[in-house]
């Protein structure tokens, strides 16, 4: 879930932009010129995937796919996220322009954690690909959800309920995101292992 415009105070927004810029700087380090199309096309693919609806009665949810993004792109996810979120904010009005930095930081940290967890789980070879992907995605949703709730929490007493509601709303997303990411990882492992870290062999 994103933070939208108008809620957070200015200093937090500025801090968000600063941290997102620092993360993107780290994400861009060592990027070769011929790697540009790869990052761009994957960013577009994730942008489109996040438009898919998943039914959760009584409504439907969009998934974030920042877990899968972290798994597939690794450090480059820090580059893909601000771009994808920026395009989402400008083209669709999801999220917000002023909260772009905060959102990119939140999802960026979560994607990095997912990437690390996936590598760690996958390195032993004893955990099935489905569970590697599912746990990585669950961790990503949990981390970004907790960061979001913490930020709302810090706004004052009136926002405590909003923070709780936001955290609660993450639970169905967490389950679906885990199942979907797990299945996608399982599929990719069979169809094109080169896309996943440690799978090129």
């Amino acid at each position: 879930m994103h933070l939208s415009d108008g809620i957070l105070p200015g200093p937090v927004l500025v801090a968000g932009f600063v941290s997102a810029a620092a993360l993107a700087r780290w994400g861009v380090a060592g990027l070769r010129d011929d790697e540009t199309p790869r990052v761009a096309v994957f960013t577009g693919a994730f942008f489109c995937a996040s438009l898919l609806h998943f039914k959760v009665p009584p409504t439907s949810v969009h998934l974030l796919f920042h877990g899968l993004l972290g798994v597939v792109l690794g450090r480059r996810a820090l580059l893909a996220l601000p771009i994808g979120l920026g395009l989402q904010a400008t083209l669709l009005g999801h999220g917000g322009i002023t909260t772009l930095g905060v959102n990119a930081t939140m999802f960026g940290v979560a994607a990095l954690a997912a990437s690390g967890l996936y590598r760690w789980l996958g390195s032993g070879g004893s955990v099935r690909p489905f569970w590697c992907g599912a746990l990585a995605a669950a961790a990503a949703v949990l981390i970004s959800g907790l960061l979001l709730a913490a930020m709302l929490w810090s706004l004052g007493e009136g926002f405590v309920w909003v923070a709780r509601y936001a955290l609660l709303a993450h639970l169905p997303v967490l389950v679906i995101e885990a199942v979907v990411t797990g299945s996608a990882v399982e599929f990719l492992r069979r169809a094109q292992p080169a896309l996943l870290p440690g799978g090129a062999a």
């Binding site: 415009d5 898919l52 998943f54 996608a184």
Partner: protein
């Protein structure tokens, strides 16, 4: 998904003719002021100012209202809850335990969000993306980031169309979007196939770019030119933003 913003960004109005660099800086200053507003009075003035700006772009009103409404959807739960949860003096004569401070805060948040979103839409719907990104690059956003964004934007619609076709293929084969493990698995495979095809497409894009002499730098023919009308618009914009800030103090 359609390149709807792009469609309207090529229109003609005082807002469209404003040089993208000057427009970006001015509207960024305006948004910075809007973010920091603390009084409902100033936020209301800001929202009206933003709506006037959008009206100056001669964009279709119905479409803009729909966009604003969807963009604010995330905010609504917040607005409903806040009057009840913010501690403060209860509103006299109200049957519900609503606090005056809570209502005030909810109203402030709503107006602030409305103003910021409207200014954002005024920017997006009056500048072609390519021109805007180049303007951002001129203003100091790294070239790398701008170029990846441009390329992402280029392939977004291709990929979106591919995804639409895949959804048709699913529908033809009797797929129903139900909350079940099987449906999620099928959609997960759609995502997987999208990524797979992206990988193949990446290779083709890289080759096509190499054939056309791409050496890691995208070029455009757009040249920025700013004249007195741009300066006047920006001066007025900055003055209005300063006025808002004064009203808020």
């Amino acid at each position: 998904m359609r390149a709807e913003a792009e469609l309207y960004a090529r229109g003609d109005s005082p807002l469209h003719r404003w040089d993208a660099r000057w427009k970006t800086v001015t509207l960024a200053v305006l948004i910075a002021v809007l973010v920091s507003l603390e009084s409902v009075r100033a936020a209301l003035a800001g929202a009206l100012m933003a709506l006037a700006l959008l009206a100056g772009g001669r964009l279709p009103a119905g479409l803009m209202l729909r966009r604003l409404l969807t963009a604010q959807a995330l905010l609504f739960p917040c607005l409903v809850v806040l009057p009840f949860t913010v501690p403060g003096a209860p509103l006299p004569g109200s049957p519900l335990p609503v606090s005056r401070e809570g209502l005030h805060l909810a109203l402030l948040l709503y107006l602030r969000a409305l103003a910021i979103l409207t200014v954002g839409f005024a920017m997006v719907y009056s500048t072609p993306m390519v021109v805007w990104l180049r303007a951002l690059q001129n203003l100091g956003i790294p070239r790398r980031l701008v170029e990846i964004t441009l390329m992402t934007y280029r392939y977004l619609f291709t990929l979106g169309w591919e995804l639409t076709r895949m959804r048709w293929a699913l529908a033809v084969r009797g797929f129903r979007n139900r909350p079940s493990r099987a449906a999620w698995r099928a959609l997960a495979q759609v995502v997987g196939v999208t990524l797979l095809r992206s990988l193949e497409r990446t290779e083709r894009v890289r080759q096509a770019l190499a054939c056309r002499g791409f050496q890691g730098r995208l070029r455009t023919l757009h040249e920025f030119r700013a004249g007195p009308p741009d300066w006047i618009k920006s001066a007025v914009g900055i003055l209005l933003a300063a006025g808002l800030w004064m009203v808020d103090r």
